[in-house]
């Protein structure tokens, strides 16, 4: 019987200690982590809609979540939505800022794992800036007859970004 008790007991004690410490540290860090997440999202929104002071999430039954951006005077300065589509080898997630006139204000690619040096270049400014001022309703990649210049050698990623914006916007447009 002794053979059973000692290992079990030791394991138990270590588990106890570990559990305690971990739970304690978790309690300390959890709010920070949550805050970080919010901050990061907020920062991304601010990036695509710099005029806005604060954002108001808008969600309806059709489960498309978007934000309305207001300036200090609480006037609407634009909208922010996020969209995602599978690119060459990963999901490409983009956050788009719209002016109140429903033109693109700015976009930023927040997460992707495309080929470095090719598709991954979609996060670079020289790519994202070309979206500013375009009408999201009918943007197309140049290869498809549109105006968005595709990344060299990475048409698929470019398409993923462009088409994601277009498709999501088309769903959203009626609500804005």
């Amino acid at each position: 019987m002794k053979d059973f008790i000692r290992p079990t007991l030791v394991l138990l004690i270590i588990c106890l200690i570990a559990g305690t410490i971990l739970a304690f540290i978790y309690q300390q860090t959890a709010p920070l982590i949550a805050e970080n997440k919010l901050k990061a999202e907020e920062a991304a929104r601010r990036l695509v809609l710099p005029d806005a002071e604060f954002f108001k999430p808008v969600s309806d039954s059709s489960d498309v979540l978007y934000y309305e951006g207001y300036n200090a005077d609480s006037t609407l300065v634009g909208y922010v939505f996020s969209c995602v589509q599978y690119g060459y080898s990963s999901d490409v997630k983009t956050i788009v800022g719209l002016t109140p006139e429903l033109m693109i204000n700015a976009i930023t690619v927040v997460s992707q794992a495309e080929t470095p040096g090719l598709g991954a270049n979609c996060t670079r400014d020289d790519f994202t800036t070309q979206f500013a001022g375009k009408n999201p309703y009918n943007i197309y990649v140049d290869k498809d007859g549109g105006v968005i210049q595709s990344l060299t050698g990475a048409t698929i990623t470019t398409r993923a970004v462009t088409n994601a914006i277009r498709d999501t916007f088309q769903k959203l447009r009626d609500k804005l």
Binding site: A18, G19, L22, Y26, A30, Y86, Y88, S89, T115, I156
Partner: protein, 200 residues
């Protein structure tokens, strides 16, 4: 059941995002146990078995204990996932090893001796964590675990084949052993790049 999803998971885990040469998981046994084809195969089989088991158990633990939405406690205990996963994998492996050793010594000789090596195979813990990250459901998790194991076995056996062939080649002395194995792995990784971007 959506079979095409499962198919994509299988192809993805075996070829496109092969655990060893794309995700860098399980490199130690990959380099260590690839000298002989026979042991590579034994190791591979053991890994497939353990990965499938581990995927099952960790998914259950995660779903019923840790995940806030589905947990019986209703609490977010995800921060415990590393510790619970690795503990259950370690115990599972040790337990299975003991059982096989007693119950089926023949099987143990062929397969069981590779079991202890698997505890510290990061591919096993890796697949458990990835299952959670990818939000796979129960069946998908099991399939992913098995497929990842198959992918591991595949590259392990291929590697063993090449190394057996190279054993008596004129590889420069300083490159013999580990270094050349990594070069081979590099060649394999380059070849497997052909699978990237695969879509069905």
């Amino acid at each position: 059941m959506d079979f095409s999803t499962l198919f994509i998971i299988i192809i993805g885990s075996i070829f496109v995002n092969n655990f060893v040469i794309h995700r860098f998981l399980g490199l130690c046994p990959y380099i260590g146990v690839s000298k002989k084809m026979d042991s590579a195969l034994g190791m591979g089989m053991a890994v497939i078995f353990v990965m499938t088991m581990a995927s099952t158990i960790t998914w259950l633990i995660y779903t019923f204990f840790l995940n806030e939405a589905t947990s019986i406690f209703g609490l977010d205990l995800t921060f415990l996932r590393t510790i619970t996963f690795i503990l259950s994998i370690a115990v599972l492996v040790q337990f299975v090893e003991m059982v096989i050793k007693k119950a089926a010594p023949e099987l143990y000789k062929a397969l069981g001796i590779y079991l202890p090596l698997i505890t510290t195979n990061c591919a096993v813990l890796g697949v458990s964590l990835l299952n959670i990250n990818e939000n796979y459901n129960f069946i998908e998790s099991i399939v992913n675990g098995a497929a990842a194991g198959v992918g591991f076995t595949l590259v392990l056996v291929l590697m063993a084949g090449i190394r057996e062939r190279l054993e008596y080649s004129k590889v420069p002395r300083s490159m013999k052993g580990m270094p050349i194995s990594f070069i081979i792995a590099g060649c394999m990784a380059l070849a497997f790049l052909g699978f990237t971007g695969m879509k069905f």
